[in-house]
């Protein structure tokens, strides 16, 4: 049975302090800490490419787990900031890592919902084709596209990358998925040219309106109740959004992960960064839910093996 075996994480060491931008945006410490919930944003080096971030995440994975690269038969990268449009980042990684020629490699173009979509896609692809060892990367360095004058985004997003090892020796199995799309709102989160456009009210409204019922639908599909879930790992949009989802779903705040104070919203990497810690904590049943560009969302149940 395929599932999540291990996760490697890379968060660049360089930080930008939001406290230094209080005057620029007319905000105070309380707004930074209790509303945005991001004190410092991680920023990659100017010469670091998306592939470089992924390679650093793999270094972390290889410190946690004795990976046999010769056995890898599927590599994917979830990104909407690949750097060059051609070739796909997964092909670059395939070459850099010296993976076998029989290994499949493809990218997945999704933002904050990308990790959950990626898990569903890669596991199904591997199962269908008899593959046994997959590397699924996430890396979406928004520092490439942020407008430093935009309060909505320049206080929020951080750079990071992760790699999830999917194999037949899983620590967690996915037992149910739900998906959704609100394409009529696609203009509210875009990057047409070089700069991110992010309609904060639209994205907030979307998440508050669609994610709570989706979690209910997911639990019904899995035959679970809210009380059966040990941990809720939502995409880390902002602390305010996490608090809103917690209230709307009437969740115990202690069960809801919040982890972005010292690095920011890392798009498709936000969920696996937290899951890497959960692998050690080994909660029994988790809900993960990603939502963002598209507008799109995807949620899943993870169960400890």
């Amino acid at each position: 049975m395929l599932g999540i075996c291990n996760i490697g994480v890379y968060i660049p060491k360089d930080r930008v302090s939001n406290y230094e931008r209080k005057e620029q945006f007319g905000i105070d410490d309380a707004f930074i800490e209790t509303k945005i919930g991001v004190r410092y944003r991680s920023v990659k080096g100017p010469g670091e490419s998306t592939a470089d971030l992924c390679l650093r995440a793999l270094e972390d994975l290889e410190q946690r787990y004795a990976l046999n690269r010769a056995a890898v038969d599927c590599v994917t990268v979830v990104t909407q900031n690949p750097g060059a449009r051609i070739p796909h980042v997964s092909a670059i990684l395939h070459g850099e890592l010296g993976l076998p020629e029989s290994c499949a490699a493809f990218d997945i173009s999704l933002g904050c919902s990308g990790y959950v979509y990626g898990l569903a896609t890669v596991q199904a692809f591997m199962r269908e084709n008899g593959l046994r060892t997959g590397l699924m990367f996430t890396a979406d360095p928004y520092s490439n596209i942020l407008d430093p004058e935009d309060k909505n985004t320049s206080l929020l997003f951080g750079d990071a990358a992760t790699v999830t090892l999917i194999s037949s020796e899983p620590a967690y199995l996915t037992t149910a998925f739900t998906f959704g799309t609100l394409g009529r709102e696609h203009r509210e989160l875009t990057c047409g040219d070089k700069t991110l456009y992010f309609n904060g009210r639209a994205i907030f409204n979307f998440a508050a309106r669609y994610i709570p019922p989706d979690i209910t639908r997911l639990l019904e599909k899995a035959g679970l109740r809210l009380a059966d879930v040990d941990r809720f790992v939502f995409h880390q949009g902002s602390k305010y959004l996490l608090d809103t989802l917690t209230k709307l779903l009437k969740l115990d705040p202690a069960k809801v992960a919040y982890d972005i104070a010292d690095y920011g919203n890392t798009v498709s990497s936000s969920i696996p960064i937290i899951l890497a810690k959960e692998l050690d904590a080994r909660a029994g049943t988790l809900v993960i839910s990603g939502f963002g560009a598209g507008l799109s969302w995807a949620s899943a149940i993870l169960k400890k093996t």
Partner: protein, 77 residues
């Protein structure tokens, strides 16, 4: 739709965006000048949509700054 100021205040209470008594808010003054920040405004409008069964477009949202603005807007719905 003829919404009243008291109904609006009740939505503010339910939205939990402030611990203050909603009756303290001057209806003519923009809420952001009375301690309600942009994130709280998004939450308030979300609860207004639910409370009054309306959809408030992103364009209209930008014009809803005070309680009087909101009441005037609801009259058009």
């Amino acid at each position: 739709m003829n919404a009243t100021l008291e109904e609006l205040r009740e939505v503010i209470r339910k939205s939990e965006i402030t611990t203050r008594d909603p009756a303290e808010f001057d209806p003519a003054v923009p809420l952001v000048k009375q301690g309600i920040d942009s994130l709280d405004m998004a939450t308030l409008i979300f609860h207004l949509e639910d409370g009054f069964g309306v959809t408030i477009s992103h364009t209209s949202y930008k014009d809803l700054k005070s309680l009087d603005d909101i009441l005037a807007y609801l009259k058009t719905k």
